[in-house]
Amino acid sequence: MAGIVGYGVHFPIYRIRVEEIAKVWNEDAEAIKNGLNIKEKTVPGRDEDAATIAVEAARRAVRHAGINAKEIGAVYVGSESHPYAVKPTAATVIEAIDAGNNVMAADLEFACKAGTAGVQMAMGLVDSNMVKYGMAIGSDTSQGRPGDALEYTASAGGAAFIIGKEKGKVIADILKTVSYTTDTPDFWRREGASFPSHGGRFTGEPAYFKHITNATKLLLEETGMKPADFTYAIFHQPNGKFPVNVSKQLGFTEKQIEHGLLTPIIGNTYSGASLLGLAATLDVAKAGDRILVTSFGSGAGSDSFAIEVTDSIEAARGRTTKVKDLIGRNKVYIDYATYLKNRDTIKMK
Protein backbone atom coordinates (compact mmCIF):
# COMPACT_ATOMS: atom_id res chain seq x y z
CA MET A 1 0.00 0.00 0.00
CA ALA A 2 1.03 3.60 -0.63
CA GLY A 3 3.18 5.45 1.86
CA ILE A 4 5.21 8.61 2.37
CA VAL A 5 8.49 8.83 0.44
CA GLY A 6 9.38 12.40 1.37
CA TYR A 7 8.11 15.66 2.80
CA GLY A 8 9.08 19.30 2.96
CA VAL A 9 7.72 22.30 4.80
CA HIS A 10 7.89 26.06 4.64
CA PHE A 11 6.72 29.06 6.61
CA PRO A 12 7.57 32.75 6.61
CA ILE A 13 10.18 34.28 8.93
CA TYR A 14 7.81 37.00 10.16
CA ARG A 15 6.03 36.64 13.50
CA ILE A 16 3.51 38.68 15.43
CA ARG A 17 2.94 38.14 19.14
CA VAL A 18 -0.47 37.84 20.78
CA GLU A 19 0.41 40.89 22.94
CA GLU A 20 0.90 43.06 19.84
CA ILE A 21 -2.56 42.24 18.46
CA ALA A 22 -4.30 42.38 21.86
CA LYS A 23 -2.88 45.86 22.50
CA VAL A 24 -4.62 47.26 19.42
CA TRP A 25 -8.01 45.86 20.39
CA ASN A 26 -7.63 46.58 24.09
CA GLU A 27 -7.95 42.90 24.99
CA ASP A 28 -6.30 40.90 27.74
CA ALA A 29 -3.28 39.22 26.12
CA GLU A 30 -2.72 36.78 28.99
CA ALA A 31 -6.32 35.61 28.88
CA ILE A 32 -6.07 35.04 25.11
CA LYS A 33 -2.73 33.25 25.39
CA ASN A 34 -4.14 30.91 28.02
CA GLY A 35 -7.55 30.53 26.42
CA LEU A 36 -6.23 29.69 22.93
CA ASN A 37 -2.87 28.23 24.02
CA ILE A 38 -0.98 30.39 21.53
CA LYS A 39 2.01 32.73 21.89
CA GLU A 40 2.66 34.01 18.37
CA LYS A 41 1.91 33.28 14.73
CA THR A 42 3.65 33.43 11.37
CA VAL A 43 2.87 36.25 8.95
CA PRO A 44 3.70 36.07 5.24
CA GLY A 45 6.04 38.64 3.73
CA ARG A 46 4.56 40.93 1.09
CA ASP A 47 6.09 38.70 -1.59
CA GLU A 48 4.72 35.42 -0.22
CA ASP A 49 1.44 33.67 -0.91
CA ALA A 50 0.05 30.13 -0.90
CA ALA A 51 1.85 29.41 -4.20
CA THR A 52 5.32 30.53 -3.08
CA ILE A 53 4.94 28.57 0.18
CA ALA A 54 3.75 25.51 -1.76
CA VAL A 55 6.77 25.73 -4.10
CA GLU A 56 9.31 26.07 -1.28
CA ALA A 57 7.77 23.10 0.57
CA ALA A 58 7.55 21.05 -2.65
CA ARG A 59 11.21 21.65 -3.51
CA ARG A 60 12.27 20.50 -0.04
CA ALA A 61 10.03 17.42 -0.38
CA VAL A 62 11.67 16.42 -3.68
CA ARG A 63 15.12 16.74 -2.10
CA HIS A 64 14.04 14.75 0.95
CA ALA A 65 12.56 11.96 -1.18
CA GLY A 66 15.74 11.82 -3.25
CA ILE A 67 13.75 11.34 -6.46
CA ASN A 68 13.72 12.96 -9.87
CA ALA A 69 10.81 15.42 -9.95
CA LYS A 70 9.97 14.14 -13.45
CA GLU A 71 8.79 10.89 -11.79
CA ILE A 72 5.95 12.75 -10.05
CA GLY A 73 2.75 12.01 -11.96
CA ALA A 74 0.22 14.01 -9.93
CA VAL A 75 0.29 17.25 -7.95
CA TYR A 76 -2.62 18.47 -5.81
CA VAL A 77 -2.47 21.74 -3.91
CA GLY A 78 -4.96 22.26 -1.11
CA SER A 79 -5.54 25.81 0.09
CA GLU A 80 -8.26 28.24 1.08
CA SER A 81 -6.04 31.13 -0.06
CA HIS A 82 -5.04 30.19 -3.62
CA PRO A 83 -3.57 33.40 -5.11
CA TYR A 84 -5.96 33.29 -8.08
CA ALA A 85 -9.68 32.55 -8.02
CA VAL A 86 -9.11 31.02 -11.48
CA LYS A 87 -5.61 29.83 -12.45
CA PRO A 88 -4.22 26.78 -10.73
CA THR A 89 -1.54 26.98 -8.06
CA ALA A 90 -0.68 23.36 -8.96
CA ALA A 91 0.51 24.47 -12.42
CA THR A 92 2.93 26.95 -10.85
CA VAL A 93 4.22 24.21 -8.56
CA ILE A 94 4.89 21.67 -11.35
CA GLU A 95 6.81 24.29 -13.34
CA ALA A 96 8.79 25.47 -10.30
CA ILE A 97 9.84 21.95 -9.26
CA ASP A 98 10.50 21.03 -12.90
CA ALA A 99 8.17 18.04 -12.79
CA GLY A 100 7.68 18.09 -16.56
CA ASN A 101 4.31 18.47 -18.22
CA ASN A 102 2.78 14.98 -18.15
CA VAL A 103 1.35 15.57 -14.71
CA MET A 104 -2.19 15.34 -13.38
CA ALA A 105 -2.70 18.55 -11.47
CA ALA A 106 -5.48 20.42 -9.71
CA ASP A 107 -6.16 22.76 -6.84
CA LEU A 108 -8.26 21.57 -3.94
CA GLU A 109 -10.27 23.45 -1.36
CA PHE A 110 -11.76 22.00 1.84
CA ALA A 111 -10.95 24.69 4.41
CA CYS A 112 -8.19 23.29 6.63
CA LYS A 113 -8.23 19.71 5.34
CA ALA A 114 -7.58 20.14 1.60
CA GLY A 115 -3.97 19.01 2.09
CA THR A 116 -4.89 15.65 3.62
CA ALA A 117 -7.59 15.20 0.96
CA GLY A 118 -4.75 15.51 -1.57
CA VAL A 119 -2.79 12.79 0.25
CA GLN A 120 -5.78 10.45 -0.11
CA MET A 121 -6.08 11.24 -3.83
CA ALA A 122 -2.37 10.63 -4.38
CA MET A 123 -2.63 7.31 -2.47
CA GLY A 124 -5.41 6.13 -4.80
CA LEU A 125 -3.37 6.98 -7.91
CA VAL A 126 -0.24 5.29 -6.54
CA ASP A 127 -2.06 2.15 -5.38
CA SER A 128 -3.82 1.78 -8.74
CA ASN A 129 -0.47 2.19 -10.56
CA MET A 130 -1.68 5.28 -12.42
CA VAL A 131 1.33 7.25 -11.18
CA LYS A 132 4.68 6.35 -9.64
CA TYR A 133 4.67 9.28 -7.23
CA GLY A 134 1.96 11.74 -6.29
CA MET A 135 2.46 15.00 -4.43
CA ALA A 136 -0.05 16.51 -2.01
CA ILE A 137 0.44 20.00 -0.64
CA GLY A 138 -1.40 21.97 2.00
CA SER A 139 -0.47 25.65 1.89
CA ASP A 140 -2.17 28.76 3.19
CA THR A 141 -1.80 32.43 3.99
CA SER A 142 -5.08 32.66 5.80
CA GLN A 143 -6.62 35.89 7.03
CA GLY A 144 -8.66 36.81 10.05
CA ARG A 145 -10.84 39.92 10.01
CA PRO A 146 -9.15 42.69 12.03
CA GLY A 147 -10.58 42.54 15.55
CA ASP A 148 -11.92 39.00 15.11
CA ALA A 149 -10.71 36.22 17.43
CA LEU A 150 -9.29 34.46 14.34
CA GLU A 151 -6.74 37.23 14.00
CA TYR A 152 -4.71 35.71 16.84
CA THR A 153 -4.37 32.36 15.09
CA ALA A 154 -4.74 32.65 11.28
CA SER A 155 -1.17 32.26 10.03
CA ALA A 156 0.85 31.13 7.02
CA GLY A 157 2.74 27.97 6.17
CA GLY A 158 2.62 24.76 4.24
CA ALA A 159 3.82 21.21 3.80
CA ALA A 160 4.29 18.95 0.79
CA PHE A 161 4.16 15.16 0.95
CA ILE A 162 5.28 12.79 -1.78
CA ILE A 163 3.36 9.52 -1.90
CA GLY A 164 4.74 6.35 -3.48
CA LYS A 165 5.00 2.64 -2.78
CA GLU A 166 8.49 1.56 -3.82
CA LYS A 167 10.16 -0.59 -1.14
CA GLY A 168 13.24 1.11 0.27
CA LYS A 169 11.85 4.54 -0.70
CA VAL A 170 8.82 4.57 1.59
CA ILE A 171 9.79 6.13 4.92
CA ALA A 172 6.35 5.59 6.44
CA ASP A 173 3.57 3.23 5.33
CA ILE A 174 0.04 4.57 5.38
CA LEU A 175 -1.81 1.58 6.81
CA LYS A 176 -5.32 2.97 6.50
CA THR A 177 -7.24 6.16 5.87
CA VAL A 178 -10.90 7.01 6.46
CA SER A 179 -13.00 10.18 6.29
CA TYR A 180 -16.08 11.62 7.94
CA THR A 181 -17.94 14.38 6.11
CA THR A 182 -21.16 16.32 6.77
CA ASP A 183 -22.64 19.63 5.56
CA THR A 184 -21.96 21.85 8.55
CA PRO A 185 -22.02 25.68 8.36
CA ASP A 186 -19.29 26.43 10.90
CA PHE A 187 -16.94 28.59 8.82
CA TRP A 188 -17.09 29.97 5.28
CA ARG A 189 -15.92 32.66 2.89
CA ARG A 190 -17.96 33.75 -0.12
CA GLU A 191 -16.35 34.49 -3.50
CA GLY A 192 -14.84 37.99 -3.42
CA ALA A 193 -15.01 38.34 0.36
CA SER A 194 -11.67 39.32 1.91
CA PHE A 195 -12.26 37.63 5.25
CA PRO A 196 -13.99 34.46 6.38
CA SER A 197 -17.05 34.38 8.60
CA HIS A 198 -17.69 31.79 11.27
CA GLY A 199 -20.30 30.51 13.67
CA GLY A 200 -18.40 31.53 16.83
CA ARG A 201 -18.93 28.86 19.48
CA PHE A 202 -20.60 26.65 16.87
CA THR A 203 -17.12 25.94 15.42
CA GLY A 204 -16.32 23.79 18.45
CA GLU A 205 -18.59 20.93 19.47
CA PRO A 206 -20.74 20.34 16.34
CA ALA A 207 -17.86 21.03 13.98
CA TYR A 208 -14.26 20.38 15.13
CA PHE A 209 -14.92 17.90 17.93
CA LYS A 210 -17.67 15.91 16.23
CA HIS A 211 -15.76 15.35 12.98
CA ILE A 212 -12.36 14.64 14.50
CA THR A 213 -13.92 12.21 16.97
CA ASN A 214 -16.00 10.35 14.40
CA ALA A 215 -13.14 9.99 11.90
CA THR A 216 -10.64 8.90 14.55
CA LYS A 217 -13.02 6.38 16.12
CA LEU A 218 -13.80 4.95 12.69
CA LEU A 219 -10.08 4.59 11.97
CA LEU A 220 -9.46 2.84 15.28
CA GLU A 221 -12.42 0.54 14.68
CA GLU A 222 -11.37 -0.39 11.12
CA THR A 223 -7.73 -1.00 12.06
CA GLY A 224 -8.53 -2.73 15.35
CA MET A 225 -6.04 -0.40 17.05
CA LYS A 226 -6.36 1.59 20.25
CA PRO A 227 -4.77 4.94 21.19
CA ALA A 228 -1.98 3.17 23.09
CA ASP A 229 -0.91 1.41 19.87
CA PHE A 230 0.33 4.76 18.53
CA THR A 231 3.59 6.42 19.51
CA TYR A 232 2.40 9.80 18.26
CA ALA A 233 -0.83 11.53 17.28
CA ILE A 234 -1.60 14.75 15.43
CA PHE A 235 -4.98 16.44 15.43
CA HIS A 236 -5.87 19.51 13.42
CA GLN A 237 -4.97 22.57 15.45
CA PRO A 238 -7.04 25.74 14.78
CA ASN A 239 -5.71 26.92 18.14
CA GLY A 240 -3.53 25.29 20.78
CA LYS A 241 -6.44 24.23 22.96
CA PHE A 242 -8.80 22.16 20.74
CA PRO A 243 -6.22 19.46 19.83
CA VAL A 244 -5.24 19.04 23.49
CA ASN A 245 -8.89 18.63 24.50
CA VAL A 246 -9.88 16.28 21.67
CA SER A 247 -6.84 14.07 22.22
CA LYS A 248 -7.77 13.72 25.91
CA GLN A 249 -11.37 12.87 25.05
CA LEU A 250 -10.19 10.19 22.63
CA GLY A 251 -7.77 8.65 25.13
CA PHE A 252 -4.43 9.98 23.85
CA THR A 253 -1.79 11.41 26.17
CA GLU A 254 -0.02 14.77 26.09
CA LYS A 255 3.20 12.95 25.31
CA GLN A 256 1.71 11.48 22.13
CA ILE A 257 0.74 14.88 20.72
CA GLU A 258 3.60 17.12 21.89
CA HIS A 259 5.86 16.88 18.81
CA GLY A 260 3.06 17.58 16.36
CA LEU A 261 1.48 20.46 18.25
CA LEU A 262 2.84 23.54 16.47
CA THR A 263 -0.01 26.04 16.61
CA PRO A 264 1.09 27.55 19.97
CA ILE A 265 4.27 28.83 18.25
CA ILE A 266 3.30 29.30 14.59
CA GLY A 267 -0.48 29.74 14.61
CA ASN A 268 -3.04 27.92 12.50
CA THR A 269 -1.58 27.31 9.06
CA TYR A 270 -4.97 25.98 7.84
CA SER A 271 -4.38 23.46 5.02
CA GLY A 272 -0.80 23.13 6.19
CA ALA A 273 -1.60 22.50 9.86
CA SER A 274 -2.10 18.73 10.17
CA LEU A 275 0.62 18.01 7.58
CA LEU A 276 3.11 20.31 9.32
CA GLY A 277 2.34 18.49 12.58
CA LEU A 278 2.95 15.18 10.83
CA ALA A 279 6.23 16.46 9.35
CA ALA A 280 7.48 17.64 12.76
CA THR A 281 6.57 14.24 14.20
CA LEU A 282 8.30 12.31 11.39
CA ASP A 283 11.39 14.45 12.09
CA VAL A 284 11.76 12.62 15.43
CA ALA A 285 10.05 9.29 14.70
CA LYS A 286 11.93 5.99 14.50
CA ALA A 287 11.32 2.79 12.57
CA GLY A 288 8.29 0.93 13.94
CA ASP A 289 6.65 4.02 15.45
CA ARG A 290 2.95 4.34 14.67
CA ILE A 291 1.43 7.78 14.04
CA LEU A 292 -2.23 8.74 13.96
CA VAL A 293 -3.23 11.91 12.07
CA THR A 294 -6.70 13.38 11.95
CA SER A 295 -7.27 16.60 10.05
CA PHE A 296 -10.35 18.80 10.13
CA GLY A 297 -11.76 21.12 7.50
CA SER A 298 -14.71 23.38 8.16
CA GLY A 299 -17.79 22.79 6.13
CA ALA A 300 -17.04 20.07 7.42
CA GLY A 301 -14.97 16.92 7.42
CA SER A 302 -12.07 14.98 8.87
CA ASP A 303 -9.52 12.63 7.30
CA SER A 304 -7.85 10.16 9.61
CA PHE A 305 -4.67 8.18 8.86
CA ALA A 306 -2.81 5.32 10.55
CA ILE A 307 0.89 5.51 9.64
CA GLU A 308 3.82 3.23 10.47
CA VAL A 309 7.42 4.40 10.11
CA THR A 310 9.85 2.15 8.18
CA ASP A 311 13.63 1.63 8.41
CA SER A 312 14.13 3.85 5.36
CA ILE A 313 13.42 6.99 7.41
CA GLU A 314 17.01 7.12 8.68
CA ALA A 315 18.60 7.27 5.20
CA ALA A 316 16.35 10.20 4.23
CA ARG A 317 16.74 12.09 7.50
CA GLY A 318 19.68 14.33 6.53
CA ARG A 319 18.11 15.44 3.25
CA THR A 320 15.46 17.70 4.71
CA THR A 321 15.29 20.71 6.97
CA LYS A 322 13.63 19.84 10.26
CA VAL A 323 10.43 21.69 11.11
CA LYS A 324 11.69 22.80 14.52
CA ASP A 325 14.93 24.12 12.96
CA LEU A 326 12.96 26.18 10.45
CA ILE A 327 10.75 27.54 13.23
CA GLY A 328 13.81 28.51 15.24
CA ARG A 329 15.76 30.24 12.45
CA ASN A 330 16.02 34.02 12.50
CA LYS A 331 12.53 35.17 13.26
CA VAL A 332 11.56 38.76 12.52
CA TYR A 333 8.97 40.16 14.92
CA ILE A 334 6.70 42.78 13.39
CA ASP A 335 4.27 45.29 14.83
CA TYR A 336 0.56 45.48 14.06
CA ALA A 337 0.95 48.24 11.43
CA THR A 338 3.53 46.22 9.50
CA TYR A 339 1.27 43.21 9.84
CA LEU A 340 -1.60 45.08 8.19
CA LYS A 341 0.71 46.29 5.42
CA ASN A 342 2.06 42.78 4.78
CA ARG A 343 -1.44 41.40 4.68
CA ASP A 344 -2.54 44.08 2.20
CA THR A 345 -5.22 45.25 4.60
CA ILE A 346 -4.24 48.88 4.12
CA LYS A 347 -6.01 50.30 1.08
CA MET A 348 -3.58 52.38 -0.99
CA LYS A 349 -6.23 53.92 -3.23
Binding site: G45, R46, D47, A51, E56, Y84, A96, N330, K341
Partner: protein, 131 residues
Protein backbone atom coordinates in the same frame (compact mmCIF):
# COMPACT_ATOMS: atom_id res chain seq x y z
CA UNK B 1 -3.31 42.31 -21.30
CA UNK B 2 -2.40 40.05 -24.22
CA UNK B 3 1.10 41.52 -24.39
CA UNK B 4 1.62 41.02 -20.68
CA UNK B 5 0.58 37.32 -20.90
CA UNK B 6 3.03 36.54 -23.70
CA UNK B 7 5.85 38.46 -22.08
CA UNK B 8 5.38 36.69 -18.75
CA UNK B 9 4.94 33.25 -20.34
CA UNK B 10 8.23 33.51 -22.27
CA UNK B 11 10.15 34.15 -19.07
CA UNK B 12 8.51 31.68 -16.67
CA UNK B 13 10.98 28.85 -17.22
CA UNK B 14 14.03 31.04 -16.74
CA UNK B 15 12.58 32.97 -13.81
CA UNK B 16 11.24 30.02 -11.81
CA UNK B 17 14.28 27.79 -12.06
CA UNK B 18 17.23 29.94 -13.10
CA UNK B 19 17.32 28.27 -16.48
CA UNK B 20 20.04 29.81 -18.62
CA UNK B 21 22.25 28.33 -21.29
CA UNK B 22 25.74 27.19 -22.08
CA UNK B 23 27.89 27.50 -25.18
CA UNK B 24 28.67 24.00 -26.43
CA UNK B 25 32.11 24.92 -27.77
CA UNK B 26 33.69 27.16 -25.07
CA UNK B 27 31.38 26.11 -22.17
CA UNK B 28 30.62 29.74 -21.21
CA UNK B 29 27.45 29.85 -19.11
CA UNK B 30 24.77 32.53 -19.28
CA UNK B 31 21.88 33.73 -17.22
CA UNK B 32 19.57 35.03 -18.52
CA UNK B 33 20.04 32.80 -21.57
CA UNK B 34 21.69 34.42 -24.63
CA UNK B 35 20.87 33.58 -28.23
CA UNK B 36 24.58 33.57 -29.17
CA UNK B 37 27.81 33.10 -27.18
CA UNK B 38 29.53 36.38 -26.29
CA UNK B 39 32.97 34.84 -26.82
CA UNK B 40 32.43 32.61 -29.83
CA UNK B 41 29.93 34.72 -31.77
CA UNK B 42 27.29 33.17 -33.98
CA UNK B 43 28.59 29.80 -34.97
CA UNK B 44 28.22 27.71 -31.80
CA UNK B 45 25.32 25.77 -30.39
CA UNK B 46 23.73 26.93 -27.12
CA UNK B 47 22.32 24.26 -24.76
CA UNK B 48 19.86 24.73 -21.89
CA UNK B 49 21.55 24.93 -18.49
CA UNK B 50 19.70 24.93 -15.15
CA UNK B 51 21.57 26.59 -12.30
CA UNK B 52 21.21 25.29 -8.74
CA UNK B 53 20.65 28.77 -7.33
CA UNK B 54 23.40 28.73 -4.72
CA UNK B 55 25.97 31.48 -4.68
CA UNK B 56 27.29 34.49 -2.84
CA UNK B 57 26.75 38.22 -2.83
CA UNK B 58 29.20 39.88 -5.23
CA UNK B 59 27.77 43.37 -4.87
CA UNK B 60 24.59 44.87 -3.47
CA UNK B 61 22.70 48.07 -2.73
CA UNK B 62 19.64 49.10 -0.75
CA UNK B 63 16.90 50.67 -2.84
CA UNK B 64 15.10 53.44 -0.97
CA UNK B 65 13.54 55.25 -3.93
CA UNK B 66 12.03 52.43 -5.95
CA UNK B 67 10.27 52.36 -9.33
CA UNK B 68 6.45 52.42 -9.02
CA UNK B 69 6.23 48.63 -9.35
CA UNK B 70 8.08 48.10 -6.07
CA UNK B 71 6.82 51.19 -4.24
CA UNK B 72 5.32 49.20 -1.36
CA UNK B 73 8.35 46.92 -0.98
CA UNK B 74 10.94 49.66 -0.32
CA UNK B 75 13.43 49.67 1.19
CA UNK B 76 14.78 46.44 -0.33
CA UNK B 77 18.09 44.99 -1.45
CA UNK B 78 19.15 44.25 -4.99
CA UNK B 79 22.46 42.71 -5.82
CA UNK B 80 24.69 40.79 -8.13
CA UNK B 81 25.09 37.18 -7.07
CA UNK B 82 27.99 35.05 -8.20
CA UNK B 83 26.49 31.59 -8.72
CA UNK B 84 28.50 28.50 -7.73
CA UNK B 85 28.52 27.55 -11.41
CA UNK B 86 30.10 30.87 -12.36
CA UNK B 87 27.62 33.28 -13.93
CA UNK B 88 26.71 36.59 -12.28
CA UNK B 89 22.98 37.08 -11.77
CA UNK B 90 21.11 40.22 -10.79
CA UNK B 91 18.28 39.84 -8.35
CA UNK B 92 16.47 40.94 -5.24
CA UNK B 93 17.97 39.83 -1.92
CA UNK B 94 15.52 39.04 0.87
CA UNK B 95 15.87 41.20 3.95
CA UNK B 96 15.60 38.95 7.00
CA UNK B 97 16.96 41.50 9.42
CA UNK B 98 20.52 40.23 9.23
CA UNK B 99 23.31 42.33 7.77
CA UNK B 100 24.10 41.56 4.14
CA UNK B 101 27.77 41.66 3.18
CA UNK B 102 29.85 40.95 0.13
CA UNK B 103 30.42 37.21 0.30
CA UNK B 104 27.16 36.41 2.14
CA UNK B 105 26.03 32.95 1.00
CA UNK B 106 22.60 32.88 -0.60
CA UNK B 107 20.15 30.42 -2.16
CA UNK B 108 17.44 31.03 -4.71
CA UNK B 109 14.06 31.25 -3.00
CA UNK B 110 10.70 31.39 -4.81
CA UNK B 111 8.75 34.61 -4.31
CA UNK B 112 6.27 37.04 -5.84
CA UNK B 113 8.13 39.63 -7.87
CA UNK B 114 5.19 41.90 -8.56
CA UNK B 115 1.47 41.93 -9.09
CA UNK B 116 -0.27 43.69 -11.97
CA UNK B 117 -2.87 45.68 -10.03
CA UNK B 118 -5.98 44.10 -8.53
CA UNK B 119 -7.01 42.03 -11.55
CA UNK B 120 -3.79 41.32 -13.45
CA UNK B 121 -1.20 38.57 -13.40
CA UNK B 122 1.08 37.68 -10.51
CA UNK B 123 4.75 37.47 -11.49
CA UNK B 124 6.74 34.86 -9.58
CA UNK B 125 10.48 34.36 -9.70
CA UNK B 126 13.64 33.68 -7.74
CA UNK B 127 14.86 36.06 -5.06
CA UNK B 128 18.06 35.39 -3.18
CA UNK B 129 17.81 34.45 0.48
CA UNK B 130 20.81 34.63 2.85
CA UNK B 131 21.57 31.19 4.34
Amino acid sequence: MERSSARLWRKIRARYNLVGNECQSCKSEYFPPRPICKKCGKKTEMAVKKFAGNGEVYSFTKIRVPPDTFREEAPYYVGVIKLEEGPMVEGHILDDGREIKIGTKVRAAFRRMYVEGDEGLIHYQFKFEPI
